[in-house]
Symmetry: C2
């Protein structure tokens, strides 16, 4: 009964789902504690205490109202978010520039719904978050992939080459899933320069959509570039899934600056898309919660410790990988470029990774360190054995 | 920067939005208490006490987990819902037949995403909930409208006539927005008979999608038909927005019986659509809440009282309308079939309705009685004056 497109999609065995199933299978066989599932990006850091307290406060109120509100969300919450951004980035946003969304997945979908004509091209940077493809296909957009340089910053020449008259949106994601790379200010400036020149060449706006669920998970001193400072036609999508460990509650927001070309209509269209896609409004209670907790975040030390043990172990064993500066992933080169064999050997050691092919970048695997520290501690020996299996030379 | 389709949509001034703006304008001018906004469907009945208590209990827990879960939702919640349905309808559903959704708007969208090929036809019954059109257009489906009989039950001959080889989905909505009509068992049997015969004729499955946000708001003794009892290929979409007054929290569920043709793939495709549209999963906390409150509902007397005063006043004044048996709307015939003039005269009396044209049925207006009783009390005089303005004969 299902559509042809869905039928096709069902037959594609996504690597993340495959890993999920394998982890479940192994846990049933060998016990939870003997399987090291580094595949999923489900944040395990405890919710900040203030979130718990505010939630308790709100839910203690007898007359808490759970009604529909305006499709953009509660005005008082959007005002708090605008103030927060204004203070942090020295901007001048008002409530109209903020739209509460169901996380970044919801935010990206309504932006694409608002902007894409069938056949419009959306540029993403390899390796990429796999869900982008489905989001773009929803609206008959065409995915165009840009290659990375060796350090996983974008290959600017390739970007320049890939932009065409049909390019409508360019999605950037920093801190980056799956590599943990942070796009530097130089990268932001260079991308901005290219987009500006291409806008001029083709005579129409190109939207930079910055997907920032990991904005607050950064392990270096350097400040992240705020993309709208570099490029006028930027829309920013943020989520509290990771920063407040609220992934299941589906809460985030879009920032659509007034500087964006035709911003009034863009905002109207995105709001309309909230209804048309069936979101209606972002979940009411958690809008209020994040409004009260806008300056909070999970204990960064929780993930920093995880990063240290995992990256340390990997380097010590002789695996080839780049130290992640943000997010909670490490992208590891498969020995002999043989991703499938590496995944298989790992599975035998009860280590569950996701193959780089899922991210449009074969020959690598993604390891997630958003799990509990104990899992990574227990995984250390398995990672060492796996290195031996692969005949890596310990450093 | 927005797409052509969105640009077109922005220029269509939806009647509900128009009414919303008019109510806001008038309230600013004349004060909240002097404007009778009967336009919106935002349920004002208090949340059942148990919901408030369970919410307090859950949020008092220190270690409440807000992580992602499986895209269908928590298994224990789906089990409770399946049990509830099995008891109520004598069915044999299991957790796989239940998918937690962001209300019915979310549920309908993911079903349509899973089923529709571009150009597939979706049948809706006039007058209809206006958002269906946008939902179907998302996936390049084609809306086909079926006319009602005088009592607002479907015109079966017209239905038979409108089904073609491209018909993929038929959406029914009972209790019905905007008329308050309930489709009888005879209607369910007749629709089922027609669909079965057309399935045979065209050699492929036609999905009946039953949109049931008002399932539990019924003011008569008669039991509603459970559509899957009548027709095998039925998917049911339910929401707790009205039954628990949780509209802003976006929580509901789909029932996809195993009897549905190719149900395994339908379920898989709908789950996939949860991710692809960016819902990811229904909001976590409110899944747990509705799981604990599955047998609760708002005080029906709250709306019954509203129905009584509004319907009583309307009949007394000589307005032409059908007594609503469910939901919280009354569909009133505009005197002389002149919807625009009726809306205008009403506005002058500070009465805000939505024109029937918004529901694909001109010459009528929709009055909502989900507001507070006091609003309807205060509106009584205005409704009488409006009847005089329209030269209606009081009964």
């Amino acid at each position: 009964m299902i559509s042809k497109e869905m039928n096709k999609n069902l037959s594609i065995n996504g690597g993340i789902r495959e890993a999920f199933n394998e982890a479940r299978r192994q846990k049933a066989l060998y016990g939870d504690e003997n399987v090291y599932d580094l595949s999923i990006g489900n944040p395990s850091a405890p919710v900040p205490r203030k979130v718990t307290e505010v939630l308790k406060d709100f839910c203690g109120k007898k007359e808490l109202d759970h009604q529909y509100m305006c499709e953009s969300g509660y005005e008082e919450v959007r005002e708090k978010i605008a103030d927060h951004l204004n203070q942090k980035y020295n901007t001048g946003y008002g409530i109209n520039n903020i739209i509460m969304t169901n996380g970044v997945a919801g935010g990206i979908n309504i932006v694409l719904r608002a902007l894409l004509n069938p056949g419009d091209e959306v540029i993403i940077f390899r390796p990429y978050y796999p869900a982008y493809k489905g989001f773009v296909e929803n609206w008959q957009g065409k995915i165009v992939e840009v290659n990375p340089k060796e350090d996983f910053q974008p290959d600017f020449e390739d970007l320049e080459h890939k932009i065409t008259i049909r390019t409508k949106v360019v999605i950037v994601n920093s801190p980056h899933n799956p590599t943990g790379v942070i796009y530097t200010k130089e990268t932001a400036a260079k991308i901005s320069e290219i987009l500006k020149s291409k806008q001029k060449e083709y005579g129409h706006a190109i939207c930079l959509l910055s997907d920032e669920p990991y904005r607050d998970l950064v392990y270096i001193e350097e400040k992240l570039p705020w993309w709208p400072d570099f490029y006028r036609n930027t829309i920013v999508s943020y989520s509290f899934s990771k920063s407040l460990s609220l992934a299941g509650e589906r809460i985030g927001y879009l920032t659509i600056p007034t500087e964006v070309e035709d911003s009034e209509n863009v905002i109207k269209a995105v709001r309309l898309a909230m209804g048309r896609l069936g979101f209606v409004n972002a979940p009411a209670l958690f809008q209020r919660i994040v409004g009260e907790c806008i300056d909070e975040q999970v204990d960064l030390e929780y993930y920093a410790k995880n990063r240290e043990i995992l990256y340390g172990t990997l380097k010590q064993c002789g695996y080839e990988c780049i130290e992640p500066k943000g997010a909670f992933y490490i992208f590891v080169k498969a020995p002999d470029n043989n991703e499938e064999r590496f995944l298989e050997l790992a599975r035998k050691r009860h280590l569950i990774f996701v193959g780089g092919s899922s991210f449009g970048y074969s020959g690598y695997v993604r390891l997630s360190f958003c799990c509990k520290y104990e899992v990574l501690q227990r995984a250390t020996d398995a990672l060492k054995h796996l290195a031996d299996d692969c005949r890596l030379t310990a450093s």
